[in-house]
């Protein structure tokens, strides 16, 4: 029997409106999670370089745990495991945002640590010698310089996290991949639909790359 496959453009185009319904969820989980992850990253990144061991140690533990376990396990744990602990269900959207937040937070902590540690010690000494407090020195001298260096790795993490949300189809949140699966269940046009899904992810990540490149160029212009 001869086998012939034809890419059905009409099927691909027909699937778009349904798939687009997944985009708000993908974006909400990605950027909601990343926003919280960024705050967690600043907090734990700075704690992880604190001189006091009782601040540094828990931060390091958090970073190692969430970098060292798969995000799929993390989201399953939050969605199926945590309700037993807190005695009530967690909706899939919240679970997804929490998983991205905790996971990206661990990676962003390392980005923050690296960025801050890359700034020359002389900058701190200059600030202190002028009479600024340690806190003033950090926020008006070290952080602005460190943040600029953090932009490329932060962009990288954002792209990774956006793609990670595709795994959350397993907890039934209606993001892009989940929409695709539901659509295919009725039409059996897997090739066309996953192709469109891939293109939609690419559209999101490419737009982000472009925006980041513009920010980077503007940020570096002055240094």
């Amino acid at each position: 029997m001869e086998f012939q496959f034809q890419f059905d453009w009409q099927a691909a185009i027909d699937s778009i409106p349904f798939l687009l319904k997944g985009i708000p969820y993908t974006l909400m989980i990605s950027f909601g999670g990343l926003a919280i992850g960024f705050l967690l990253g600043i907090l734990f990144g700075l704690l992880s370089i604190n001189k006091k061991w009782f601040l540094r140690w828990p931060a390091t533990a958090y970073i190692e745990i969430f970098r060292g376990t798969p995000i799929l396990v993390q989201v399953l744990f939050i969605f199926y495991g945590l309700p037993d602990l807190i005695g009530g269900p967690i909706d899939p959207l919240t679970a997804g945002i929490a998983a991205i937040a905790l996971n990206s937070g661990a990676y962003i902590s390392e980005v923050v640590r690296g960025g801050v540690q890359s700034i020359d010690k002389g900058q701190t000494e200059a600030g202190l010698s002028l009479g600024l407090s340690r806190t003033q020195t950090f926020w008006s001298i070290i952080w602005p310089q460190a943040f600029r260096r953090m932009i490329p790795p932060l962009g990288n993490q954002a792209i990774v996290s956006i793609k990670d949300t595709s795994l959350f189809s397993v907890i039934g949140v209606g993001e892009l991949v989940r929409q695709g699966q539901v659509y295919i269940a009725n039409t059996f046009t897997a090739f066309e639909v996953y192709f469109v899904v891939a293109v939609l992810y690419l559209a999101i990540t490419l737009s982000l790359s472009l925006i980041l490149r513009l920010i980077e160029r503007r940020g570096l212009a002055s240094v």
Binding site: D120, Q123, E125, A126, S129, L130, G131, S140, I141
Partner: protein, 248 residues
Amino acid sequence: MTHIVEMKGMNKYFGKLHVLKEIDLTVESGEVVVIIGASGSGKSTLIRCVNGLEEYESGKLVVDGHPLAPKGGNQKALSDIRKEVGMVFQQFNLFPHLTVKKNIMLAPMKVKNTSQVIANATAERLLNRVGIGNQADKYPSHLSGGQQQRVAIARALAMEPRLLLFDEPTSALDPEMIGEVLDVMRELAREGMTMMVVTHEMGFAREVADRVIYIHEGEIVEQGKPDDVFDNPQNERTQAFLSRVLAH
């Protein structure tokens, strides 16, 4: 005259290494003290103790009436001292993310709550004074080394310090730029600024210093008027050091 700096029996260690040994030193208001010695002799460490960038282990240190206890002292003393003591570094340490003018305005506005208008006027006045009034809105990376170091001096002056510390201010400069920085320092000395200067510029030391101090392996081996120390050193280690640095 009043003591601006008073050190008594000061000792400092880096781990097991004894870098400052029983230092006794007083600096009077208006005095220019130049500290010379081989690299690793502890001369930079000595002036870095004055504003608490280095802690010391034992002895006594009083800066402009504020006692700074061993092992870091207390935060209040540290911040009081740093408001009154400026420092100029070998590597300039300008803030690369701020314009030249903002570099100078930052500390008065943050530490003394000086208004933006006054801080701006002060910055412009100081930049003119160090001869680079036309570079105010550039970023440090667009300036030559000599210009950057003059900005660093202006930045320290903006806090109206009672004492200025210079940690090898010309060592990172191309030879043709050393003169413009030394000129500014010479001018400050003439105006009566109290200065402690660590340098390898022996010509500057001889000309500007009220007192020259020679440090060898963490000890003050010899001190006196520049002509006495340079022309008639008493200690044999001073003699050996000077014959090495003045030979060429």
